[in-house]
């Protein structure tokens, strides 16, 4: 198995080659405005090391923050027709009702609400009003809308109304890109619908970006299928990523956690990724990041779908340090460290200067930081340690010491001994952990729904079957599937022993 993993970050595009489980090449190139050039440059740099010569590559896996950045920066977004099936319920809170107004202005192409949807126990809530859907689709077409988001009440339990509506819309608006909220997941109409609207708003960007990725790979002369990494540390084929770009929102952080797991050989551990400005902490379970169970805001929009549960604090290699009173971060010199840090002749005291003074890092000019004595350095490291300890503890799900994998350029801020941590593990290629995480990604399937009048064990078994089927249809090899997450929660107030079960299954990419 020979794969190339690429991480397209804000500053650098990293590429690694993994052969039979080992990192055999790793390079960095500056990220370019047009994406293609940066990827092409990194692939050329990788080729220049000679590691690719005469070898067949099985897949190129790309992780990118492109889509989330588009939402945050309000750029390259498509106008969306929102179609909700559920009238007369929820009418007072229409699609886009809790969006920041500036973003709604850009994405809202029109809102249509018609009868349909289901009850929590699978009964139809109202019959689907197909005539109204046809009328809505014609109005969308007349307005020139080509991207449509469809949401129905309780569609995670029964997606049939959304699917039927999608057929009708596709018939009326040929070539439209259509997002069904049930493809994105969880109970919680507004949050699921928001994820669908964001997804539909990224339709054009996803098409263009993935075309650019494909072009870069073609131009580099590598003949291998393209996969895109997702929030949960798995990959999908490029065609599916084009359809569901929101699933790639947080792939950067996820990939670095997955890479940390891979490079350390640990499947259950905490991972701390210390960058220049921020530190992300997450928890690996069976080699995958634990997911957020609660609402995650993206660009000011409340969403609820597969996202890693991360805690970010303002601590990094470029963090400002003030000594009296002692304060580390959250301000940071960021990429200007090599100009503004004291060890580099600048004026701003940073954590990197402290590390240089203490001899932890050999960077810049140590003579410029000799005024920082050992006691001062110890105080600053002590503060960083306190921040790290608290964040790690907050991200744990149970008491007891856990191993901590430290990756990222600022990992020198993580001491070898921490409260609540059994061992701090540092890995080679830790600075390319995210590209490694991309290279090793698998394919997943998920089931999250309510079961009634079933024994708990039967409900979980049924959820497993559904999740496995979804993984296979996403491109996994059935023989390699394994369940990596099972969670069940009894539901207050609902009769019939209602149990909400969430199961996630992963497997290797099937040979094509």
């Amino acid at each position: 198995m020979r794969r190339i993993g690429i991480d397209v970050g804000g500053t650098n595009t990293d590429a690694v080659l993994i052969e039979d489980g080992k990192v055999t090449g790793a390079v960095k190139a500056p990220t370019s405005e047009d994406v293609t050039t940066g990827i092409l440059d990194s692939l050329k740099a990788l080729a220049a090391t000679g590691v690719l010569k005469g070898k067949r590559i099985d897949g190129v896996m790309i992780g990118t923050t492109h889509f989330i950045n588009a939402v945050v920066q309000r750029r390259h977004l498509t106008k969306v027709g929102a179609l909700r099936l559920g009238m007369p319920a929820s009418a007072s809170l229409p699609p886009f009702c809790d969006w920041p107004e500036d973003l709604a202005e850009i994405v809202r192409g029109g809102v249509w609400m018609v009868e349909g949807g289901h009850e929590f126990d699978g009964r139809p809530f109202m019959p689907l009003d197909e005539a109204a859907i046809t009328a809505a689709a014609r109005e969308m077409k007349a307005k020139g809308l080509r991207s449509v988001a469809i949401s129905a009440i309780f569609s995670p339990l029964d997606p049939s109304h959304e699917k039927r509506a999608a057929e009708i819309v596709a018939g009326e608006v040929p070539g439209a890109s259509i997002t069904c909220s049930s493809d994105l997941g969880r109970i919680g109409l507004l949050e699921r619908e928001n994820a669908g609207l964001l997804n539909a708003g990224l339709a054009d960007l996803a098409r263009d970006t993935i075309a650019a990725f494909e072009q870069a790979i073609r131009d580099s002369g590598i003949a291998a299928p393209l996969y895109i990494t997702q929030n949960d540390g798995t990959v999908v084929e490029a065609t599916q990523a084009r359809r569901l770009p929101v699933y790639s929102f947080a792939s950067g952080a996820t990939n670095s956690m997955r890479g940390g797991a891979y490079l350390s050989g640990l499947l259950d551990a905490m991972v701390i990724d210390v960058g220049g400005t921020t530190t992300d902490v997450g928890q690996l379970r069976h080699g995958f990041p634990r997911e957020a169970n609660s609402v995650v805001k993206v660009g000011g929009v409340r969403t609820l779908f597969r996202m890693p549960d991360l805690m970010s604090i303002g601590l990094g290699g470029g963090s400002h340090v003030s000594l009296d009173p002692l304060k580390v971060g959250p301000l940071s010199v960021g990429y200007r460290l090599l100009r503004e840090g004291i060890a580099f002749g600048g004026k701003q005291l940073t954590t990197t200067d402290i590390a240089v003074a203490a001899g932890r890092l050999a960077l810049g000019d140590r003579a410029k930081v000799t005024h920082l004595d050992a006691a001062t350095c110890a105080r600053v490291f002590g503060e960083a340690q306190r921040m790290v300890e608290e964040t790690v503890d907050r991200m744990k799900t149970e008491a007891g010491d856990v191993p901590l994998i430290a990756v990222g350029g600022g990992a020198f801020l993580v001491p070898d001994k921490l409260e609540g941590v059994s061992e701090v593990i540092r890995v080679t290629h830790g600075d390319c952990a995210n590209a490694v995480g991309a290279a090793i990604a698998q394919v997943s399937g998920e089931c999250d729904q309510i079961f009634r009048d079933m024994a708990r064990v039967d409900a979980i078994a049924r959820a497993n079957e559904l999740a496995a089927d979804r993984a296979v249809s996403a491109g996994a090899d059935r023989a390699t599937l394994s369940t990596i997450e099972t969670e069940d929660m009894p539901l207050a107030y609902l009769p019939g022993n209602a149990l909400r079960v969430r199961v996630r299954v992963v497997g290797d990419v099937a040979a094509t």
Binding site: S90, F120, I153, L190, R394, K396, A399, A492
Partner: protein, 360 residues
């Protein structure tokens, strides 16, 4: 007679404060708040009145949603359906309401009377029947007062309207009402048994909307100025700081339609080395400090996020959260022998004699 104009900023504060008074349950007021933002954008306005300004023979409608919180996340609460529950009651009893009020100030139902009131152009009485959140209809001041437990109207957004015409006790109001609610799809807008002005004055728990707004305003102001939001709450309410710590274990189970369980905490700051556990049945019921009961229903036990000051609910509390536990004084009506029978620790299955955090 004076009416207080309620601004949207008041409603924003009410949502935060009502969630604090929810004592772990009652549902997050986020969706009612979104409804109110939409109503205010469309030009609707609400007013608050004191129960003292009611005439004895006025009629007052008590508004609440019933149902499973999870269903409420798909079939979103809407103001017109609540307003229809009120209309159905007016028709049934052949009387027009002078004002509306809240059944339960704690949680989402603390905001819902305003949703109905906006459409009916009626004031909301600054009183409720729980002073907090409780899981069942007999856990109210009006049930303690032995007031008539019927009729009840329950409305579904599709247009169905049901009336519980006559039942012998508040437990039956709960039982029959719950059945209707489940058939609707586990969510119903209800108008609770109507009250006269005299009954509200005698048995209502007064000033609770104002109290929720004050708590919410204190938290929001502290968030804006980066002050300690817990201290801010304790400045506007005669509460007691019980504990600071972090969650180290959460055990939940659903029995008889309730979310029951226990949360364990490990102390931080002045409480380092001491443990707290809190039992819950939707709401926080009994808090134990190093195995001694230190606070119990009807005292309000509020578990708050130590940083934001916002309430943490029993459905979503999770390991590692930094929380501060405070107690707020209980409504006086629950301190009588009869009151404690309805909402004291034994009503929830704890063989404890009630002792208030606030008793000398």
């Amino acid at each position: 007679m004076s009416l207080r104009d309620i601004t949207l900023d008041d409603i924003e504060s009410l949502a935060v404060g009502a969630w604090v008074l929810g004592t772990g349950g009652g549902g997050n007021p986020y969706l009612p708040l979104l409804n109110m933002r939409a109503l205010y954008r469309e030009g609707y306005r609400c007013q608050l009145m004191s129960s003292e300004d009611l005439d004895d023979d006025d009629w007052v409608g008590t508004v609440a949603n019933m149902g499973a919180p999870l269903v409420g996340q798909e079939r979103l609460t809407d103001s017109l359906t609540l307003a229809r529950a009120v209309t159905a009651m007016e028709k049934h009893i052949g009387q027009r309401f002078r004002a509306l009020m809240s059944m339960e100030i704690g949680g989402a139902n603390g905001v819902r009377p305003f949703m109905a009131a906006a459409h009916h152009k009626l004031p909301v009485v600054d009183s409720d029947t729980m002073g907090r959140a409780y899981p069942e209809a007999q856990m109210t001041s009006v049930a303690v007062g032995g007031l008539t437990p019927y009729p009840l109207t329950a409305v579904d957004v599709r247009g169905f309207e049901s009336i519980v015409h006559k039942v012998p006790t508040w437990k039956w109001t709960e039982r029959v009402g719950r059945k209707i609610c489940v058939e609707y799809g586990s969510v119903a807008a209800t108008c609770q048994p109507p009250r006269t002005g005299a009954e509200v004055k005698r048995w209502g728990i007064h000033g609770t909307t104002t109290k929720a707004i004050a708590i919410g305003a204190a938290v929001r102001e502290a968030q804006r100025t980066h002050d300690d939001p817990i201290a801010a709450i304790l400045k506007v309410e005669p509460g007691k700081l019980l504990y600071k710590g972090k969650v180290i274990d959460v055990a939940r189970r659903t029995t008889e339609g309730f979310l029951r369980g226990v949360v364990r905490f490990d102390g931080l700051d002045d409480w380092r080395g001491s443990a707290m556990t809190i039992n819950f049945q939707n709401e926080w019921i009994v808090a134990w400090h190093d195995d001694k009961p230190v606070a119990m229903t009807p005292d309000l036990i509020c578990v708050l996020d130590s940083v934001s000051g916002e309430a943490v609910g029993s459905e979503t509390i999770r390991y590692g959260q930094r929380v501060t536990v405070i107690a707020l004084p209980p409504p006086a009506v629950f301190l009588s022998e009869r009151g404690l029978q309805h909402v004291g620790p034994r009503a929830f299955g704890y063989d404890l004699d009630f002792r208030s955090v606030f008793s000398p």
